[in-house]
Amino acid sequence: MSRPSRSSGLPRWVFVPAAVGALFILLPLVALASQVEWSHFVDLITSESSRSALVLSLRTSAISTVLCLLLGVPMALVLARTSFRGQGALRSLVLLPLVLPPVVGGIALLYTFGRKGLLGETIEVLGLQIAFSTTAVVIAQTFVSLPFLVVSLEGALRTAGEQYEVVASTLGARPTTVLRRVTLPLVLPGLAAGAVLSFARALGEFGATITFAGSLEGVTRTLPLEIYLQRESDPDAAVALSLVLVVVAVLVIALVRGPRREAL
């Protein structure tokens, strides 16, 4: 890829607010890194509570991502490849968790899956316990990250178009074969980007988790909750753990942008 030429036709003044904007995003990250007590960094991020929070976060985010794939891929397919009455409205509603404050999502989940919630009694009859369990964390994370997968994949499906699928089916391929051999391979980069974004969103999930799942070490206290709690008594540990999440976020962006730049 060649470097953009200098004579791009942009007025020079545009660079000033653009640079201010970039600084606005980068400066807090630099400030955060400058506050890290490097001499204790390893101790701070490997304490028992930090490790258990990190392991819990990675585990629940991985499960949430799998759930997002299982539910989100069919949703994206239905939204991109079919048309029915009310589809536009449905799409908007499904994307709601993207713009909803997570704490609102948490309250909504509480009134759905909580003990006194809409499905609470059904869940209790089935002998399941969701309140204050790791399951509640996964539900909260899946709720907020599912739209990321649906949006990325639906966009990729629309961009890819249907011509190859039409050809495949005129050649006699069954719908499932077309989906498996043509559609999904075509949108694989979009699917991967969506999955990584969902994972990142699940990893950062805070509001819905603290509202809906509670906070107990090793069970429901994920890394963002641990950071929020450590800030009360040990700001150095909070800063060190924050940096860990920043590094994970940078890795996620590198993963998404790396293999195929147009995926985002």
């Binding site: 509480l110 309140a131 204050f132 509670g214 906070s215 107990l216 070490e217 450590q230």
Partner: protein, 256 residues
């Protein structure tokens, strides 16, 4: 690098933090109109709002604005230069921190105390009637995390009573604990007496005899950064005085 960054970042943070008060009022306000900014612990929201209104009525031209948050958050904000005149903490530890950092003018005054109590949903589904019941894994008990003042008090109570509570969740604040009990998610929670009183009808309170040995003391002080120190002193005196104490007593706070 760090030297250059810190003031810059602090400046950005401050300008956001200052949104709560009205920065322009100082500039154009004549001497009579004063805005007093009070940083107070979350558990004081109801009582201090009421005390603030009474103080305004008693002192025409004075407007009292509040910022309610966790005591340690408030100390952090004050030490980063947030414009505040009065600080009221939910525990002595955070006030000590503020005093040690040189943020406080004069000596803090204790104005109230609070003790812990068990809160359960009105139907008390787990039939809790003493602290010992909270040690049972069958009772879904929610407490404050040890890192926050109410959690420190909870740990103290466990020690005094010789009970090892098995919580399903350790929340960030006492209001989060109360919320879990009010919504029926938890069978029981350890909250302050004032929280039970404030949520009357939504929870029932069960007294814990040993709680009287673990008392949380609320101190208040005028801040050294205050630009209205005389009004700030009048406000803290009002809180300690009969009018303030009456409001606090009605909410269930005890006298120090």
């Amino acid at each position: 690098m760090k030297r250059l960054l810190v003031p810059l970042v602090a400046g950005v943070l401050l300008s956001t933090a200052a949104c709560g008060s009205d920065p322009s009022s100082d500039a154009r306000a004549p001497a009579k109109d004063t805005t007093l900014t009070v940083f107070a612990a979350s558990s004081l929201k109801g009582t201090f709002t009421e005390i603030g209104q009474k103080f305004e009525d008693a002192n025409p031209g004075v407007t009292v604005t509040f910022s309610f948050a966790g005591s340690s958050d408030l100390v952090a904000q004050i030490s980063q230069g947030a414009p505040a005149d009065v600080f009221a903490s939910a525990d002595t530890e955070n006030m000590d921190k503020a005093t040690a950092d040189g943020l406080v003018e004069g000596t803090p005054v204790n104005f109230a105390t609070n003790t812990l109590e068990i809160a359960t949903p009105p139907d008390n589904p787990a039939k809790v009637d003493s602290l010992d019941d909270l040690a049972s894994p069958d009772v879904k008990t929610v407490i404050c995390a040890a890192e926050v003042p109410c959690g420190a008090a909870t740990a103290g109570l466990e020690k005094v009573a010789g009970v090892d509570i098995a919580p399903v969740s350790e929340e960030q604040s006492v209001t989060d604990v109360l919320g879990k009990v009010v919504s029926g998610e938890a069978d029981a929670g350890l909250v302050y007496v004032t929280d039970v009183k404030g949520a009357a009808g939504q929870v029932i309170g069960i007294e814990v005899p040993e709680a009287s040995q673990v008392v949380n003391t609320y101190p208040t002080a005028v801040l050294s950064g205050s630009s209205n120190a005389s009004v700030a002193r009048a406000f803290t005196a009002y809180v300690v005085g009969p009018e303030g104490q009456a409001v606090l007593a009605a909410a269930g706070f005890a006298q120090p």
